[in-house]
Symmetry: C2
Subunit: 348 residues, 2 copies
């Protein structure tokens, strides 16, 4: 490959504007202590020459890298992709994260790491060393992994923990899963259901517990028992098993809330296999509003998780932290909502 052509550098701008490098640098970084008139002149040169700073050079100079890393679970992400079932989590993260990054001159880089790997620290350290990101977004189940959070804290890299509320360093963001579970449960209660089951996610995810709490509190507030609980791993097979377990009881639920899209469609299939009609024999709520759940028959009532928005907020927090804003306070909550579709109906 031939060498790259001559780039426009800060030097060219400085020469063009007849000022020092430093002044140009100040203008680029919107620092104070530059006369407006001077700033304008420099900006004019920048525009004329079409100068854009190299982020590699900026990073080398000791400033930011303008890179934010989104860390996802490798196994789950790849599995979802291969299925082409796109839990669409990554898609939504990319949307929210990347657009917000772009607004601030940052880029988002998606990285996958093994959750259950003993060399997780090495993998993460390598990524941090290579990229030197200005911030990291952690998604469950990484969000509360002390190996990860510890490393990040130690290296003084701002990070956001999505879906985690346990104490510790890092910004915390949630979609208020507990409240979302309450919404879903109350929706079924209002339709007259008295036996409402929950297929929870794996205990390794904090949000699995929150959803159980929300479901339980709503159930109890209605004076009902909370024994219709099963657990899956978010995957289809486990959802099918859990649904069978619930539907096979002597007192089966008339309404089921499934903690993931895959478990919801598995429940749909399990109900159908038993000759049960959804929604008339069993109502079903999915905890994920993916493209798929809107095209099943019937389309599923679902908890809409604002993944894109949460990621956008995470990016903003990280960039603000970079800029020196030492935000403190509680977690950022972007509440999920319930979208009612054909899979829930009044109890027969």
């Amino acid at each position: 490959m031939a060498r790259r052509p001559q780039r426009v550098t800060i030097k060219h701008v400085a020469a063009d504007a007849g000022v020092s490098l430093q002044t140009v640098s100040r203008v680029i970084n919107k620092e104070p202590n530059v006369r407006a008139e001077m700033a304008e002149r420099v900006q004019a040169s920048i525009d004329r020459l079409g100068y854009v700073p190299s982020i590699a050079a900026q990073r080398m100079g000791g400033s930011r890298s303008y890179l934010i890393v989104a860390l996802n679970d490798r196994a789950r992400t790849i599995a979802d992709w291969r299925n082409r079932q796109g839990s669409d989590w990554v898609d939504q993260m990319l949307l929210g994260g990347m657009l917000t990054c772009a607004e601030h001159g940052y880029r988002l880089i998606v990285e996958l790491v093994d959750t259950h790997s003993d060399h997780i620290e090495r993998e993460l350290s390598a990524a941090l060393a290579a990229l030197q990101p200005d911030g990291v977004i952690l998604t469950p189940p990484h969000s509360h992994n002390p190996l990860i959070t510890g490393l990040l804290a130690e290296q003084n890299i701002p990070f956001a923990r999505v879906g985690s509320l346990v104490d510790g360093p890092g910004f915390r963001l949630t979609m208020d899963d507990q409240h979302a579970a309450v919404l879903a449960t109350e929706h079924l209660l209002e339709l007259g259901h008295r036996r409402i089951g929950l297929i929870a996610g794996p205990g390794e995810y904090e949000l699995s517990g929150w959803r159980i709490q929300g479901w339980r509190s709503a159930i109890r507030a209605a004076g009902l028992g909370d024994d219709l609980l099963a657990e899956g791993d978010f995957g289809y097979d486990s959802g099918y098993t859990a649904a069978e377990q619930l539907l096979g009881r002597a007192d089966p639920p008339t309404g089921i809330i499934a903690s993931s899209e895959q478990m919801a469609i598995a429940t749909l299939a399990a109900a159908r296999a038993r000759g049960l009609d959804v929604p008339h024999d069993v109502s079903l709520v999915s905890f994920d509003d993916t493209p798929i759940v809107r095209f099943t028959h019937p389309p599923l009532t679902a908890v809409v998780q604002p993944i894109a928005e949460v990621t956008a907020r995470a990016v903003e927090l990280l960039i603000a932290a970079q800029a020196g804003g030492e935000r403190e306070g509680g977690p950022v909550v972007v509440p999920a909502q319930l979208t009612v579709r054909g899979s829930t109906a009044a109890v027969r």
Copy 2:
């Protein structure tokens, strides 16, 4: 924010191994002219210290940036995302691109640019200046945009053109849309259909033409007429209109091939609105095997486009080009396949 802690740099490794910086650099970059014994010693130090080179510094030193940019159409990508209908194109690109990048120590960065913008060159130049990627992947309709390809060629940045066959610089990759259209058409012919319509994509996409050619050649080979042609813009509304147009004819098709997921589900809806049963009154083939088309009723027979694999191949070509391999020759073809589902049946 406090400063970052001391990183492990090439200096530490050099000191640890008792060699010069240059020797370490040679080992990192697997250059020849290093005695095996020496290389081993240096590698041992690298491993022990957990050293990973900074890509910013590598880039500054005049070497690669280890970054590959995937350029997508802003408006379409955002619209798809917002719908949460994920044409899942970006998802699949990210999968294929990012995993392959990771294998070679590269990262993939997704960038969005406006296709129909007059400042497209400025947008692109800015991204190139900031990131200095080692390669760029162009997706339709950017793949044959001379403003873009010209700029890239001029700056000597290797790039891959997905879904474009027109002459010019850059690697060309296709999923053999023409053949895919033949497959879809022949499938319908084998089912006994004699009136097979095509809802083509917009002419601005090269692949729209290829699909028309494939459909036409198969139709003609069967001795049939090729007048059942309508055009959409890949979106739902245009697909609905096109479907109405075809189905409203005096001699409506008994089989329709739609050039996108959205146009396929629009056709499904249009058929249903006319009281037509799919597949018994009209058979339907989608040109995109997204999560959604497998959950419509009936699930759609679809052309499966190997987006992830094409992107993976593109990444490999770009990295090889970086390394000096001046590959020449024809386009890389990763053929699409047909998956038969419930939306196609023998003609009644």
